[in-house]
Subunit: 290 residues, 2 copies
């Protein structure tokens, strides 16, 4: 999966325009967050699923970049003082600490529109066909919107200090985290012209991987050391956040993460191609130490 | 043009989903701003240009709604404390005064994705064809994004206290105001399957109408009474804002507004249908008293 990263970062950089007038600061702000070092998990999944379905990865690049633009906008807005009020992101000052809250807000807004402009550019539409371009962009819009990612962020906000139960926690993570990963994987299949059967298998894989990711996150917050994790451990407990570990205990969490990883790998049986990289990715995510 | 309003408001309301979980507050917030009484100028223009090009207005409704969703998200974010910090919008408490800054931010984000989900829904794509759906959504993404509306908002922010010259003022208004009106008019033509010649004529009409609108706004801020305008007059001068009136004087402003209105009406000659409603609309905008 890592082999895709240089290609993704090159493509992302190419979407940064030159400002013709006074909007250069907005462009700088969008570029700053888009170029922060990251694992590029979501765009890599888009490319991997495109390749698995026999498509040319280049054709999926605009869609891979789009999902990273959406992810990036959500991080910028998440860090704002009226949300999580985080001063750092990926080890660097968060967008509003560098550019101010007003520009950070607008940079997030502009990254969202940039995602759709990328997916629906003449070149992108020609590469995958108008039907598939529209279908992919619709899925990203739905999965990132009111009933998807942004809905999940809302559930998170609304359950602050309320200790949500396991069902609420699960729905929140499905929306907040899994939905965007689902869009990433589904769009990869769509770019390759895959049928609905495979698109839905990609959705199941992403759903399981997304939930496992959150559960492992909770486990690491308890079991890891600050050195290993690169951020303070025990922050969930200190913030009195409801977590899988607090609700189920570590043992059951481990077991659930393993089950979800098996579920993800099982979903890959719908594909004929080489599924090993995606199976390995699911396993690596579940067994990660940070 | 007013005849379109009930149809638009009905269609907008139909896009408000029911939340399956804790995101109901987000949905309420999005609905609140979407339903604030407004003139619905942009979506009415989408429908009017669709009709002028011989298309069925129903087919253009998702695109009309989308442009209103984008407009609404921009108003919600504009009113936030880190931006203009406005407590009122269209005579009602602004979104963050009712729902809090965090939910208002997310409601704006969700309205933006809702716009693309509306334009790229299976039904919308079937009605206008995938090529046209992708083309329309791309134009809205570009006109509302980094080099369009959001870029214009940035130029506005960056020129605070700087007394921009006439060129900067014009570019700012082209981006901040005219771009979204251009998208509205162009999308109407695209929904009717119009050729590029007519799409560009619609863009020219919208560009002139958008600029004239801003200039008349500046004139009214000086010449109107608070009663007529429904908001305090002289606020631009009090806020030390650079305006067309301050830079050119009222007489030249009036003249420029008239020239732009003639330009808008001239652009309509590219169309065979009944252009009177759109010509009347341009005149009414230039001669409005509030």
């Amino acid at each position: 999966m890592k082999e895709y990263i240089p290609m993704i970062e090159e493509a992302l950089a190419a979407y940064i325009p030159r400002g013709d007038y006074g909007e250069q600061r907005l462009i700088d702000a969008a570029e700053y967050s888009l170029k922060l070092p990251g694992k590029r998990v979501r765009p890599a999944l888009t490319l991997a699923f495109c390749e698995l379905c026999g498509g040319e990865v280049e054709k999926a690049l605009p869609y891979a970049c789009a999902v990273e633009m959406i992810h990036t906008y959500s991080l910028i807005h998440d860090d704002l003082p009226c949300m999580d009020n985080d001063d750092y992101r990926r080890g660097q000052p968060s967008n509003h600490k560098v550019y101010g809250e007003d520009i950070a807000l607008l940079a997030g807004d502009a990254l969202q529109s940039m995602a759709y402009a990328a997916m629906l550019s003449d070149q992108a539409v020609q590469a995958v066909g108008a039907e598939n371009a529209a279908k992919a962009a619709k899925i990203l819009a739905e999965k990132s919107g009111l009933l998807g990612m942004v809905g999940g962020q809302t559930i998170d906000l609304m359950s602050e200090g309320k200790k949500p139960d396991l069902d609420t926690l699960r729905v929140m993570d499905e929306k907040k985290t899994a939905c965007l990963i689902e869009a990433a994987c589904m769009m990869g299949c769509i770019c390759a012209g895959a049928d609905d059967n495979r698109i839905h298998a990609a959705e199941r894989y992403a759903h399981a991987v997304g939930l496992a990711f959150q559960i492992v996150d909770d486990i690491l917050d308890v079991t890891s050391t600050t050195d290993e994790l690169g951020k303070p451990v025990g922050s969930d407990r200190d913030n009195e956040k409801s977590t899988y570990v607090a609700l189920m205990g570590i043992e059951k969490c481990r077991q659930l993460a393993d089950e979800l990883t098996d579920e993800a790998i099982g979903a890959l049986s719908a594909f004929d191609g080489d599924t090993k990289p995606l199976a390995d990715f699911a396993r690596a995510l579940a067994n990660r130490k940070k």
